[in-house]
Symmetry: C2
Subunit: 229 residues, 2 copies
């Protein structure tokens, strides 16, 4: 066998068109670039991204099955509406799932993983001071999911991701006017502390506070901006 071939790594394949469409749509939804209730037809998506119906359709239905988009019984797909009931339900689900992930994570997380999470938190504090909100959202995602992944429960992490994607479309509404960041930072510090002590209950409780804090911000923002019943 020829030498030096073990150093080569398998070629990274480009994503399929369907995956790229999915990514585009997801980012657009999560960035709030669509209006709530807007209809997304297969042909309009296909036309906008210059692909055929097949990958557009697959991406739309995939996101619908994850709850990021709404699928009506007649097959048409909509950008979900932001309602109080929806937020309240998702908040309760998140508390249950992320609480479970927390309790499992403390039993399996390694010291080096905790080190990385602490570093992420410091980056969050710095980015928050600089008001780089899109970067802040990304770091916050990494911070939380580094913890959840430590649970080593793949299905659970995937379900939590679904919840985040469902609420994610409204985060951008909140963050620029996020007055409660100081409480958010305090919650994160509690999270880090609970991790270091490997105290599952304290961790779950701190994450519970974090979830409810952002839910409250979301709810008050909705009540002020869109008083349409």
């Amino acid at each position: 066998m020829s030498a030096a071939l073990e150093n080569l790594s398998p070629l990274a394949r480009p994503d399929t068109l369907a995956q790229r469409v999915r990514t585009q749509l997801k980012e657009a939804v999560m960035a709030g670039r669509f209006s709530p209730g807007q209809r997304l037809t297969i042909r309009s998506v296909a036309g906008a991204l210059a692909v055929s119906l097949t990958p557009a359709r697959e991406a739309l239905y995939n996101l619908a099955s994850e709850g990021v988009l709404d699928l009506r019984s007649d097959g048409s797909v909509y950008v979900p509406e932001l309602t109080e009931e929806r937020i309240i339900e998702l908040t309760k689900i998140r508390v249950a799932l992320e609480g479970l992930a927390s309790r499992e994570a403390v039993q399996r997380i390694t010291d080096s993983e905790i080190t990385k999470i602490v570093a992420l938190n410091e980056a969050i504090i710095k980015t928050d001071a600089e008001q780089e909100y899109s970067e802040l959202i990304s770091l916050n995602w990494q911070f939380h999911f580094s913890i959840y992944r430590a649970s080593q429960m793949d299905h659970l992490v995937r379900m939590i991701e679904s919840c985040w994607m469902m609420t994610g479309s409204y985060l951008n509404v909140i963050y620029p006017k996020f007055g409660e960041v100081k409480e958010g930072i305090s919650n994160h510090l509690q999270i880090v502390r609970a991790l270091e002590q490997r105290d599952g209950e304290r961790l779950a409780s701190a994450i519970n506070m974090d979830i409810n804090l952002s839910a409250d911000a979301l709810l008050s923002a909705i009540r002020h901006q869109a008083p349409s019943g």
Copy 2:
């Protein structure tokens, strides 16, 4: 306006081919008619059900996104393997989600809904005595989801359905040799009692017992039948 037309109800539309393929595949998986690890190619499914690639592909990927089937990074779809870790993880998730649904359900469930659930439980006891296991599985599903739907949390119910579908493929392995049915009946009685008292904690606890009972049965069955690992 012509009279007597108000009595007519809208025509029920037949499912799309993709939906029918999905149903067929789901039922086959949940009935254990595929071997774990078996590969399901788009063309083989399309050929077996005499449809084109399009609906077969959509059904396969839809089930994969729900976790009923495994999707590899290269696009191929497999019947998931039954592992202890998988069962343990899903059991923990189910306890969290179905516990939440229980606590919410007692706050919203109506007396007539409880009446129907009691009737379902009596049907279960009768069907169990007659050893009609496929009917038993169906009734058990209705029993539990009548409770969960009372929570009026659509997303939560959908997530619980996903969990049931993921574990459902192995239920048929268990039921015929289900020795612990008496405990199951006892659990169901506790569930009904907690419902009637509208005691969320007792209900969650009873459902927790029920989930762990079937998980234990599943685990012991696996350990005995398939010591390959």
